[in-house]
């Protein structure tokens, strides 16, 4: 297997300083906390997790929009933030969640899609025109929409415009942050089909951020599960869905509502509270919601443990060094 990462976070941390109230000291929010994660050429890396877990912060760091507070990001062997802004913006492009707010309402579709060409100053006028009609056809938009404005288009058509705008530069990596969550199911499936087709055709690498596990399962080749700024489990899609190790991954998979009327509403037994990210619980941040929590979980943060067949899991349940101790055995018997 090719172990060379195309785009990679190494021990990346991003903190934000947030005001906690008028007379209180500002607090530090660790949105992303020492994350190492990479994507290989041609892969589709899915990142899943609840809102506030830091997945969009990772997307913004990888896009070159937000420098990590510490740690590094490498792109094609070079530090991402030592590259020219334009140079990286040409090779890594975003598709955002909301096609209503990510398109400028005062520009025509033609202007929106061809803007990257003008910014990067590539191609003659005729070439630009040719590329523009080519990409419109490729994403399934009729050329008569070129002089239209975004408000004249449906949600699905707008998302096609956003995809066309990302692809006209022939990027190498496309970062999709919830690309279909604002769309109806019948339109969602069209956009997913399109994304899969384009990947095959242009040899693209995707990073797909989504809270919809069914979508991630369908198109990702590898999945990273995020919880409070950490990747708690990461593996190829097939083994993660067949054999989820981390209790949080299991709870997430249990919560997916598939259209199967024989099954009732699942009970993931997570408790209500997603912890306040400003005051993360000590030890393993997941322990207050975990059904397998042991005393050690409140004291010490787990370290990444390799999964069989690649990937890792951060959980004391799989720590060989702890396995011999009585408290671990007691927890094992209980589960």
């Amino acid at each position: 297997m090719n172990t060379h990462y195309f785009l990679e976070l190494r021990e990346a941390t991003r903190t934000f300083s947030v005001g906690a109230g008028l007379f209180q000291r500002r607090k530090t929010l660790r949105a992303v906390n020492g994350v190492s994660l990479g994507v290989r050429k041609g892969e589709v890396l899915g990142i899943v997790g609840e809102s506030g877990c830091g997945k969009s912060t990772i997307a913004r760091m990888l896009l070159g929009l937000l420098e990590p507070s510490s740690g590094e990001i490498f792109f094609d062997g070079q530090p991402l933030y030592s590259m020219q802004r334009l140079a990286r913006a040409r090779r890594i492009l975003p598709v955002f969640q909301d096609p209503y707010s990510s398109l400028n309402p005062r520009k025509t579709i033609a202007e929106i899609i061809s803007l990257p060409l003008r910014v990067h100053n590539v191609g003659s006028n005729e070439e630009r025109q040719r590329w523009l009609t080519g990409i419109m056809e490729r994403v399934g938009l009729a050329p008569e929409y070129l002089p239209h404005y975004p408000n004249q288009l449906s949600g699905g058509q707008r998302q096609r415009v956003a995809i066309a705008r990302a692809l006209i530069m022939r990027p190498e990596i496309v970062i999709c942050d919830e690309p279909t969550s604002a769309l109806d199911v019948s339109v969602q499936s069209q956009i997913l089909n399109l994304l899969m087709d384009l990947r095959r055709e242009f040899g693209l690498t995707y990073i797909l951020i989504s809270h919809n596990l069914a979508v991630v399962e369908h198109i990702a080749t590898r999945v990273a599960v995020m919880y409070l700024g950490r990747i708690v489990e990461e593996a190829d899609t097939e083994s993660l869905f067949r054999d989820p190790k981390h209790p949080y991954t299991r709870a997430l998979l249990d919560s997916v509502l598939t259209p199967e009327p024989e099954l009732g509403v699942p009970d993931a037994q997570l408790g209500i509270a997603f912890p306040n990210p400003l005051e993360p619980p000590p030890g393993c941040t997941f322990h207050p919601r975990c059904v397998h929590a042991m005393p050690i979980c409140a004291q010490r943060a787990p370290v990444p443990i390799a999964r069989d067949g690649g990937g890792h899991v951060e959980c004391h349940l799989y720590d060989e060094a702890l396995a011999a101790t009585p408290q671990r055995q007691a927890a094992g018997d209980a589960s």
């Binding site: 609840e50 809102s51 449906s154 949600g155 109806d184 199911v185 019948s186 969602q188 499936s189 069209q190 997913l192 089909n193 899969m196 809270h211 919809n212 596990l213 069914a214 979508v215 399962e217 369908h218 198109i219 899609t237 097939e238 869905f241 709870a251 997430l252 998979l253 249990d254 919560s255 997916v256 509502l257 598939t258 259209p259 199967e260 009327p261 024989e262 099954l263 009732g264 509403v265 699942p266 009970d267 993931a268 997570l270 209500i272 509270a273 997603f274």
Partner: protein
């Protein structure tokens, strides 16, 4: 089982400059005590207007008409505005999609909860307060008494939706109408809220009308399902029948659009419904789905009468006979 809510031939028309928009076009259904009925459809199909029409909360320009609109022994189509205000929030209550915008940011949780009861019953504030605490505990909020003094912004999205649910229960309603109650929430929280709704419904013996676009939710919570398209119910039946054997091409199309982990082969093409929802302005004739339907044939341009199948209240609106529809399904699955 006698019906708690009975709706016959409900229409909602909206007067626009361009003509009359027929948003809801003659729908009939009923909800029994203890029963969960789901209306499922994509954006713009009229499902939210249906819920507003039942609560008599339609915008001014919208006109409601119905042959029958009955809640228990009250005829909702003839009650005065004042009488309706006494029913709303009291005997039928509504949970809205956005818990952020449907709670008043300027009042405490306790204030808003107590108001619901004080408005409708001559009870001392003390008693309203006790009921608020009791219901907050019921919906799984810890330290309920101390929450009464908090403001909506101090709570997470999941907690706010729990508060909304507690608020609808204050007067012990017979019917709850929930319009996309979990759309703004994370998957794990979504499962919890749906669990909670189902438990409370059983405990308090209420009818539940749930409006959603998510077939996964429908499959897991509904007793009966109404598929809505372009203002009409194109199919209605028990949840098992609808999912096992959809008779309308639109219902079937929706089901084919969603990837199901473990069932849909990973990376395969998802089904899609080409085209767009037709405009509902002016005179409408024939099957409104015909422009998007792959089984369209001669006769579809004429109005299609609602067909009854069996005696369990299964209906659908398509030119194909059930046998033809099933054959078409088998052929579609093979293709």
């Amino acid at each position: 089982m006698s019906a708690l809510l009975e709706v016959e031939n409900l229409t909602v028309d909206i007067r626009l400059a361009a003509g009359v928009l027929h948003a809801v076009r003659g729908i009939s259904f009923s909800v029994a005590t203890g029963e969960t009925v789901c209306i499922v459809g994509e954006s713009g199909c009229g499902k939210s207007l249906t819920s507003l029409a039942l609560m008599n909360l339609l915008p001014k320009r919208a006109v409601r008409n119905a042959d029958r609109l009955r809640l228990d022994d009250t005829d909702l189509s003839t009650v005065s505005t004042r009488q309706m205000a006494r029913i709303r929030g009291n005997r039928m209550a509504m949970i809205f999609q956005e818990p952020m915008t449907s709670l008043n940011p300027a009042y405490t949780i306790g204030n808003q909860l107590e108001e619901a009861l004080l408005q409708h019953r001559a009870v001392p504030r003390r008693e309203a307060r006790d009921r608020a605490v009791y219901l907050l505990e019921k919906v799984g909020i810890s330290a309920a008494a101390s929450r009464l003094g908090q403001y909506p912004h101090q709570l997470s999205g999941g907690l706010r939706q729990r508060v909304m649910i507690a608020m609808t229960l204050m007067c012990g309603p017979d019917l709850i109408i929930a319009d996309e109650p979990t759309t703004a929430l994370d998957v794990t929280i979504q499962a919890q809220i749906l669990h909670l709704l189902a438990d409370l419904q059983k405990e308090f013996q209420m009818g539940l009308l749930l409006i959603t676009h998510d077939l996964g939710i429908v499959a897991r919570v509904a007793d009966r399902v109404c598929t809505m398209y372009a203002g009409q119910f194109v199919e209605q039946g028990s949840v098992k029948e609808i999912f096992r054997n959809p008779l309308h091409p639109y219902t079937r199309g929706l089901l084919e659009c969603i990837p199901v982990p473990g069932k849909t082969p990973r990376g395969s093409y998802l089904g899609s419904i080409p085209g767009m929802v037709p405009s509902l302005i002016g005179n409408l004739e024939g099957c409104s789905f015909r422009d998007r339907c792959r089984f369209v044939r001669e006769g579809c341009e004429q109005d299609i009468a609602l067909k009854r199948v069996g005696d369990a209240g299964r209906t659908y609106r398509c030119i194909m006979t059930p046998e033809e529809s099933m054959r078409a399904d088998a052929a579609g699955a093979g293709a």
